[in-house]
């Protein structure tokens, strides 16, 4: 079978599909369980400087097979409390990517230092949460602000830095270019797509926060288009996220230019065994196409 290991900015992953940020990520035991269930690595919940409860419920709305909407509101225990959770994931042998979110470059830099001290293998910057005031895509939609954050984080740490970009913008690749120029080591694309659910009987938005982020199969073609464009315009590795549920979905992202993948919503819809399923199926697809490694298949849909 094809070799499923892959390398993202110096971090060697035994398998390409990682647990996406915000799914099973609040507790170290859950991160460890995801790794043991076959994830190639785990991205933590996005962690901020202080504990944060997130929004009141309802925080999610399900749309059957095709996706779901969430506005959790970045709940997290804060960087002072979180190291013990990461310790549990690392003790299980997992490759851990520490996700952080801040309100400005200084906050990101401070978080990066503290996250590095926990022993994680890389950092992912959440520049893309579509529903948190003053955070996420409110910062990450502006290429200049995004670049400042990346520069500050790069200065603060020696870890590889993955910039997670938003699709809620004119040109996601422009954000990726800005991140690369500022020194980012990889691009994660995409975060959720800003969306809304309304209850027709009650005539009000369903989620307590109103707007939320759409995830799952519905956003897969959007994620693919973003990865495609980013691959054409930057040289650093791309981690593909958005609606990946099957091995074929994963393969399509690789052909579009992704070197590793993250799975979020599929963990809820298919269960944690989705990692094994995707990896087994991906091995077969690579074999059938005579690719001996993932690397060989990356971006192969771009051939003229």
């Amino acid at each position: 079978m094809a070799d499923l290991s892959t390398t993202v900015a110096g971090v060697v992953l035994p398998r390409p599909a990682l647990l996406a940020s915000g799914i099973w990520g609040e507790s170290g035991a859950s991160l460890a369980a995801a790794f043991r269930a076959g994830a190639g690595g785990v991205v933590t919940k996005s962690i901020g400087v202080k504990p944060r409860e997130g929004y009141p419920n309802p925080t999610i709305e399900q749309f059957g097979e095709w996706g779901m909407l969430n506005a959790m509101g970045l709940p997290n225990p804060g960087i002072e409390e979180y190291p013990k959770e990461i310790g549990q994931a690392l003790a299980a042998g997992a490759r851990v990517v520490g996700s952080i979110f801040g309100g400005d470059a200084d906050e990101f830099a401070a978080l990066a230092r503290k996250m590095e001290a926990t022993g994680v293998h890389a950092l992912e910057l959440n520049l893309s949460c579509p529903h948190a005031k003053g955070y996420g895509s409110e910062i990450g939609q502006d290429p200049q602000v995004l670049a400042e954050v990346v520069k500050a984080v790069k200065k603060a740490t020696t870890l590889p830095v993955w910039a997670k970009v938003t699709p809620n913008t004119q040109d996601t690749a422009l954000l990726a270019e800005a991140a690369e120029k500022a020194g980012a080591d990889a691009i994660t694309a995409i975060n959720t797509v800003r969306a809304l659910a309304i209850d027709p009987v009650l005539r009000r938005p369903v989620l307590a926060h109103g707007f939320g982020g759409l995830s799952g199969p519905a956003i897969r073609p959007i994620g693919l288009a973003c990865v495609w464009k980013i691959y054409e315009r930057v040289r650093i590795p791309i981690v593909g996220v958005g609606g990946i549920t099957t091995a074929q979905d994963a393969y399509e992202y690789i052909l579009a230019g992704a070197r590793a993948l993250e799975l979020g919503t599929a963990v809820a819809t298919k269960g944690i065994n989705v990692f094994r399923e995707v990896h087994e199926g991906l091995g077969r697809l690579l074999d059938e196409a005579h690719f001996a490694t993932i690397e060989e298949a990356v971006g192969q849909a771009h051939r003229k």
């Binding site: 915000g22 799914i23 099973w24 990520g25 609040e26 507790s27 035991a29 859950s30 460890a32 369980a33 919940k45 504990p51 944060r52 409860e53 997130g54 009141p56 419920n57 309802p58 925080t59 999610i60 709305e61 399900q62 749309f63 059957g64 969430n70 959790m72 709940p75 997290n76 225990p77 804060g78 409390e81 209850d199 009987v201 009650l202 009000r204 369903v206 307590a208 979020g264 919503t265 963990v267 809820a268």
Partner: protein, 259 residues
């Protein structure tokens, strides 16, 4: 994926506890819960205290702000419902002991009724702070062919003291195929010990902070499990491997706080 339904019946069970009934079709099994949404307020998990008919029910005790608001709902008020979610009690025991503290009776009652209906024998140990707060006293009396034993903290009914003492005696003196329990976690921790000493399998319905209800957001992380989907019912055997049990839970931010 969400049903808006009016409350069709409301019944005060105790001075602090109310049952709300609504017509909600999805198949539900004893032990499962629904996410009940009070528009403009919050959405909270509630175990179904009535599962068998199309007319489902939840039984709510005044605890936090949202449960207090739920208590004030009158028939006709619309709520949002999704689920049922979670696992169920195994209905196969022939000789069942049910131990319910506080509002825990709401969780174990429908399954115990089912066991009785299938010809099993049901014994109930019911505890509350005071006589007036004993939940489902009549309902449990009707199903408990093996007897209903009562404990109150103030001694206004039955044994004065903890229902765990009553239950510990029962498992020692009589034989049961299973113990089911729901109540304060300290109570369940004690019971797990008593059941293990008596070598009776025990099943506890556990409560944790809940948000998504579909094993995604990790709010209800409980050891390597999620209460919303691997639970809420956990066997004593599995609880042994969950360091959280009786020790800590997580608040809405995910921080560990004492259970």
């Amino acid at each position: 994926m969400r049903t808006i339904a009016p409350v069709v019946e409301k019944r005060w069970e105790t001075p602090s506890t109310v049952t709300l009934r609504f017509d909600y079709a999805p198949l539900a099994r004893p032990g499962q819960f629904v996410m009940i949404w009070l528009p403009g307020d919050d959405e909270v998990p509630m175990s179904l205290s009535y599962t068998s008919e199309g007319r489902k029910g939840v039984t709510i005790k005044a605890m936090g702000e949202t449960s207090r608001h739920l208590l004030q709902l009158e028939p006709g008020t619309r709520v949002g419902l999704r689920g049922p979610y979670g696992n169920t009690f195994d209905l196969s025991p022939r000789r069942l002991l049910v131990v319910a503290g506080g509002s825990g009776g709401a969780v174990v009652a429908p399954g115990a009724e089912e066991v009785r209906r299938k010809g099993g024998s049901v014994t109930v140990a019911l505890g509350a702070t005071t006589a007036k707060e004993l939940l489902f006293r009549e309902r449990f009396t009707a199903m408990a062919d093996g007897g209903l034993e009562i404990a109150t903290d103030d001694g206004t009914a039955g044994h004065r003291g903890y229902v765990t003492d009553v239950a510990a005696r029962l498992v020692k003196e009589r034989s049961f195929d299973a113990v089911w329990t729901c109540g304060p976690e300290v109570m369940m921790v004690k019971l797990v010990r008593s059941a293990e000493e008596a070598k009776v399998p025990i099943f506890c319905s556990v409560e944790r902070e809940m948000k998504c209800g579909i094993a995604m957001c990790d709010a209800c992380a409980f050891g390597p499990y999620h209460v919303c989907s691997d639970g809420p019912v956990f066997s004593g055997e599995r609880l042994r491997d969950i360091p959280d049990f009786g020790q800590f839970k997580r608040d809405a931010s995910g921080r560990r706080v004492r259970a």
